[in-house]
């Protein structure tokens, strides 16, 4: 017993302050950050979200803040919901704030958005200082006054594009929120309970998968008498959940056999709690990937619908709607180039984020990258 290997005493290791190992998401975030393209895409989407939220502050004809006859108003909020623009003030100024506000109350003041243009109407002569009104038709090519040109009826394309960013962002998040919810709930129920529940849910998935998405969406949209953008979002959400459900189902089928689920069950934890507290967080990473790709898809579908004339009726600023105006006036290239680029870049950004997410969270790909 002379050659006893020198084993360091165990106690020391335990006593040493163990560095807390990074969690799964922190690890994934680190890996995601290393991908320059994915990070650029994420920043771009952040930028778009900012543009969407602050659209009325960037371009509009309604003041952000104004004081009229001793009261403070925020007319620009009317771009979000038309009722948020004070009705009394609206009848007083009749749309054209810079002229009428001052004429009716010389003591009034107002802070205007960065660019004085409107997505819903044509800016006329001398409305803003001595600036001439917007040109219309083929004369409305991009210049210093209308950065991206004007539409056939003289609306400013830049204003429409900025306000349409909000539509695009909303469509992506809301419709995929709905799709994610339906997909995760149905998929996890099918995967966790198996048996008859699984057969029923799998049939539902198959039925939805059976019809080409666009055909189904067109049929659904044509059922609506007066579709709004919210209807479009709901329809996209209710038809694009199948891939999410299938992935969730596969993950749950795999995870329900693992030890931690078994021990939770042995402890008498209820099924609902096991599904949502124990299994779902572990299954979330692979499900997030199709959701991200789904956002790109949803934006694409919405603009395609608007383009085909199946979108919500005007006034609703949409990139796809601009494209359809461009289709009718092919000479006005700016009606095609700018919204086309916007759709392309947004879809590209979401695809890049989705791929980055996939490589950051998928252990199989992580091995491959080494």
């Amino acid at each position: 017993m002379s050659s006893v290997p020198t084993v360091p005493p165990l106690v020391d290791e335990i006593a040493a302050p163990a560095a807390k190992s990074r969690g799964f998401w922190a690890e994934a975030w680190l890996r995601f950050r290393r991908r320059k393209l994915a990070m650029t895409a994420l920043l771009f989407v952040g930028f778009l979200a900012m543009v969407g939220i602050f659209a009325p502050a960037i371009v509009g004809t309604k003041p952000l803040v104004c004081k009229y006859k001793g009261k403070i108003y925020f007319p620009a909020l009317g771009y979000f919901v038309s009722d948020w623009e004070n009705a009394y003030l609206r009848t007083q100024v009749r749309l054209i704030y810079p002229l009428n506000l001052h004429a009716k109350d010389p003591d009034s003041w107002a802070i205007y958005p960065l660019v004085y243009q409107d997505p819903f109407r044509r800016v006329k002569d001398n409305e803003w200082g001595t600036r001439p009104g917007n040109p219309s038709g083929a004369e409305g090519s991009p210049d210093r006054q209308n950065f991206f040109g004007t539409t056939d009826s003289g609306f400013d394309v830049f204003a429409i594009m900025v306000h349409a960013t909000r539509t695009a962002m909303l469509v992506g998040f809301v419709s995929m929120g709905i799709a994610g919810f339906i997909g995760i709930v149905l998929g996890s129920l099918a995967g966790y309970f198996r048996g008859p529940v699984d057969s029923v849910i799998s049939r539902i998935i198959e039925v939805v998968l059976c019809i080409p998405t666009l055909v189904l969406i067109l049929a659904l949209v044509s059922v609506l008498e007066r579709p709004t953008i919210w209807h479009t979002m709901a329809i996209i959400g209710c038809t694009r959940w199948t891939s999410i459900a299938r992935l969730a189902r596969a993950e749950f089928l795999k995870l329900r056999e693992s030890e931690f689920v078994m021990s939770a069950r042995a402890l008498g934890v209820r099924s609902g709690r096991i599904i949502f507290r124990h299994v779902l967080p572990n299954a979330l990473a692979p499900i997030l990937v199709p959701i991200t790709f789904g956002i790109a898809d949803a934006i694409l579908i919405e603009s395609a619908l608007s383009y085909l004339g199946f979108g919500p009726p005007p006034p609703n600023p949409s990139w796809g709607d601009l494209l359809s105006q461009g289709r009718a006036n092919m000479q006005m290239w700016w009606l095609i180039l700018f919204p086309g680029l916007a759709i392309f870049l947004t879809v590209l950004a979401y695809n890049l984020i989705g791929e980055g997410l996939q490589e950051a969270t998928d252990p199989r790909l992580r091995e491959a990258a080494k």
């Binding site: 049939r203 198959e206 039925v207 998968l209 059976c210 019809i211 080409p212 666009l214 055909v215 067109l218 049929a219 659904l220 044509s222 059922v223 609506l224 008498e225 790109a296 694409l300 603009s303 395609a304 383009y307 085909l308 494209l323 461009g326 289709r327 092919m330 000479q331 290239w333 095609i336 180039l337 086309g340 759709i343 392309f344 879809v347 590209l348 695809n351 491959a368």
Partner: protein, 330 residues
């Protein structure tokens, strides 16, 4: 195997039944009345007598509630009768079969072209992995993959039909044939058709091409890490042979599965593009049928699309077993 097939087919029939039932209910609740549309077309500007309207509704089976009307439709369908189109005075089968050829011309060419180009491009990208030309190829394919087809279609139309108007590169804006098509010689007809089909085919192809190439490349990269590839290299097999014979053959399994899943795309993939290029195919027919409230045609198209999707899935599973001897369905 047979057991499996029969089970799958029965499930498929069940799915079809569910799909048609739901879609029938859906289109019957569309706002608007097909009889009014048709009356307006037959005698524009005339006031319609309510008896006439009632009779017409009866002929079309619109007087019954939709679940009842659905059974009537279904019992006709199992006897291979899809009914008559409301707006075209023709049986639905005729209306649809007229439109199949133009769609096949587009999507068949596009699929074929896609596969013929995707395989060599995918292999090339794998072989040149990490070098400048591969990076350029991959990045441009990725960009193409994210470029929506209808946006590309508009860009191309703008360039070739408007900007290049009057030059030798001018291409027709839309349609499938020129006006004087019937008087052209055979060669002239082919040339005319080619010129019209060029832009739609291009728009339809590049997306799948990009997707398939990336798919092949990703699968190849996975296979190339396997031990038997290293063995093949070690015993001195040439690079070309390793890639084509040892690696590519083994990526065929997912590739073949994808073939089956792309089958429905053959008839329904070009819906938007057909509308943009006013190409007289199935997708455009669907748009027309919706705007004309032509219920029988909508149902016929839906049925066709669904059958094709189910067949494609079945085909994918069968091919899977054919290509991979490890897979059995027993």
């Amino acid at each position: 195997m047979w057991n499996y097939l029969v089970r799958r087919l029965l499930l498929g029939v069940l799915t079809l039944w569910l799909v048609t039932f739901l879609v029938y209910g859906l289109i019957r609740s569309m706002p608007g009345d097909p009889t009014l549309v048709r009356m307006e077309r037959m005698a524009p500007g005339k006031t319609i007598r309510s008896e006439d309207l009632a009779q017409m509704r009866k002929i079309y089976g619109l007087d019954k509630p939709w679940p009842v009307a659905y059974w009537a439709w279904l019992s006709n369908v199992v006897r291979f009768n899809l009914g008559n189109s409301f707006s075209r005075y023709q049986p639905v089968t005729e209306v649809i079969s007229e439109r199949i050829a133009p769609t096949l011309l587009l999507s068949g060419t596009s699929l074929l072209l896609g596969y013929l180009l995707a395989v060599p491009m995918g292999l090339y990208a794998t072989a040149r992995g990490g070098r400048l030309d591969e990076r350029t190829l991959s990045i441009s394919l990725y960009m193409l993959y994210s470029l929506p087809a209808f946006v590309a279609a508009l860009f191309l139309q703008m360039i070739f039909a408007v900007k290049l108007q009057g030059t030798g590169f001018e291409l027709p804006l839309d349609g499938m044939t020129s006006r004087g098509f019937a008087n052209l010689s055979t060669l002239g007809k082919a040339w005319d058709l080619f010129r019209h089909a060029l832009l739609p085919t291009l728009c339809l192809t590049y997306g799948t091409l990009a997707y398939d190439t990336r798919f092949i490349q990703a699968n190849m990269q996975e296979v190339l890490r396997q031990d038997y590839i290293r063995t093949a290299r070690a015993k001195g097999v040439s690079r070309f042979n390793v890639i084509v014979h040892h690696a590519f053959r083994n990526t065929l399994i997912p590739f073949v599965t994808m073939l089956g899943l792309e089958l429905p795309f053959v008839l329904s993939g070009a819906i938007i593009l057909e509308q943009i290029f006013t190409w007289p195919g199935m997708g455009r027919l669907f748009f027309e049928a919706i705007s004309e409230y032509d219920y029988p045609t909508i149902m016929g198209l839906m049925l066709l699309f669904s059958i094709l999707t189910l067949l494609g899935q079945l085909l994918a599973d069968i091919l899977y077993a054919v290509v991979d001897p490890r897979v059995t369905y027993s």
